[in-house]
Amino acid sequence: MEQAGSVGVWTAIVALARSEGAPASLRHAVLACAQSLGAAGAVFSMAYRLSVGTAGIRGEPLLACGAIAGELEELQFTLGEGPGVDAAAGRSPVLVPDLADASARGRWPAFAPAAVDHGIRAMFAFPVTAGTALIGGLGVYRAQAGSLPRQELANALVFADAMLVLALDQQSGIVPDVDDLHDTALATRRAHVHQATGMVAAQLNLPMADALAALRAHAYARGLRLSEVAADVVARRVRLSAGDMPPSHAPQGGISPDDADPPAPPSSIVPD
């Protein structure tokens, strides 16, 4: 079943990190994603809000594998249109097998032709979210038109889940091992983890994304599993304190582009 694919994604991220003698990071996830999906490029963008209570969500390409993909990702946020923008706004994947067809050009009149001009025919955009809490987005750019095959689509979604955990950990300064990462990523599919996140958000007056990061940091610091701590929080056996708050949390959800690491967006992982 897809379980195997899920493990395969983590193996690919970790293998890449090991080859550099480094702990697994967001950068490795972006690189492994582009490789495993045979993409011309992959980009992870951070989300932030222009103002509270509006739909004014903007993104900033943070990690780009492939210079063209990085440019096109940035172009979307400049234009305010594109699959990545729609994926962030709707908290839903936006899968575009052919950017040259009429429906794509009709939906993104400026972006779609620009992408085709740059030799990109298909784009698959995935929100990186915990529920409706938007952390960022994953954009996968392909030179050939065509749908992502089922297993590749499942893998791309697992990569987006991996990026959620890696982004939260990066924010909190956690450098976890692979088993811990995999376990945490799977836990973020569990109902009680999200119930606990909601409770922590109410306890500490945090946005959901930061509440999840706090829960994760609390578990990590004590060598516990996220799922266990979440069960304790829901049962009211554990209550998080302000000391569990991640060191750098943005005022309104997600990670602010200013304190995220590495800095200057978009930075390319591999020279083209």
């Binding site: 079943m1 897809e2 379980q3 694919g5 899920s6 509270v52 209570g53 709707g90 908290r91 839903s92 994947p93 936006v94 899968l95 575009v96 097998p97 429906s103 929100p127 979210t129 915990a130 529920g131 409706t132 809490a133 749908s147 689509l153 499942a154 979604l157 697992v158 889940d161 799977l186 599919r189 569990r190 109902a191 009680h192 999200h194 119930q195 606990a196 996140t197 909601g198 409770m199 922590v200 958000a201 109410a202 306890q203 007056n205 946005p207 959901m208 829901v234 309104q252």
Partner: protein
């Protein structure tokens, strides 16, 4: 069978009516669960969809939400829904009290939750497997074969309804739609936790508050949950001022804030 022809006909019409512009998959599957409990006279019904990790996730349930949720999580390692999903056939156990060697952990969990009989129905169309429907009864005894056939027909209608969207639009729509369902479900769980903490109640009671508010205001569960987690909905408790002062969410000055607990008051006005 207890259900009248008219009720059955209406249920089918409802479950194939997916081509509306404001289609909401959580609402849709919630209606499937409700219709199943009404028409099949079962105690509870849950709708489980498979995510991209191959994990079955509860996305909607009849009123017995809490008990069904727990049983859904167990079924990622063993249980009738996992069997129905992987094999694509209905799976039944009329009396869990006898024990079932296939699923010792599920059987124990189901009994602890007060269920004695279980029926799982696959949600699939040819090779496309979406998930499974979980029917649960408090009283032991085999499920009526007519009821099972009707349940499978409802599950099929709902599956076709979801997939139908795809054939009319693009192949990609199904994947997008399923992700929306899973994401919305997470927001609902977050909102349950948030409400539970603010109102000093447990998460199941919080779900009741959420659902009643959504119904009283004729709004979608998903939309109300999103408003709560994003701080657009006041979760104060006006009748308890000492609590209310401590519960203003984040105080970021949203102009369109609506007190959650005024739901009852509003209904009384109309």
């Amino acid at each position: 069978m207890a259900a009248t022809d008219r009720q059955v006909r209406e249920a089918f019409i409802e479950l194939t009516d997916t081509l509306v512009s404001d289609f909401d998959i959580i609402d849709f599957l919630g209606r499937l669960a409700t219709r199943c409990t009404e028409l099949l006279r079962v105690t509870a019904c849950g709708v489980l969809l498979a995510d991209h990790h191959g994990q079955l996730t509860l996305v909607a349930a009849s009123t017995e939400e809490a008990r069904v949720l727990e049983l859904s999580q167990v079924q990622n390692s063993e249980g009738p829904c996992l069997d129905a999903f992987t094999m694509g056939v209905p799976v039944q156990r009329g009396d869990l009290g006898d024990g079932d060697p296939r699923w010792p952990a599920f059987t124990a969990a189901a009994q602890a939750a007060g269920f004695s009989a279980v029926q799982a129905l696959p949600m699939r169309l040819r090779e496309e497997r979406l998930g499974a429907l979980n029917l649960l009864n408090a009283a032991p005894g085999p499920f009526d074969s007519d009821a099972v056939a009707l349940g499978q027909a409802l599950a099929d209608a709902a599956t076709i309804g979801i997939l139908h969207q795809r054939t009319l639009a693009r192949q990609e729509v199904l994947a997008e739609q399923l992700q929306v369902a899973l994401t919305s479900r997470i927001a609902i769980e977050q909102a349950k936790g948030f409400l539970a903490e603010r109102l000093g109640i447990d998460v199941d009671a919080a779900f009741g508050v959420l659902r009643r508010y959504a119904r009283a205001n004729n709004r979608r569960l998903t939309a109300v949950a999103a408003d709560i987690v994003e701080g657009r909905l006041d979760v104060g408790r006006p009748q308890l001022p000492d609590v209310a002062t401590g519960v203003r969410p984040r105080g970021r000055g949203h102009r369109d804030r609506v007190p959650l607990c005024s739901a009852r008051t509003r209904r009384d006005w109309t």
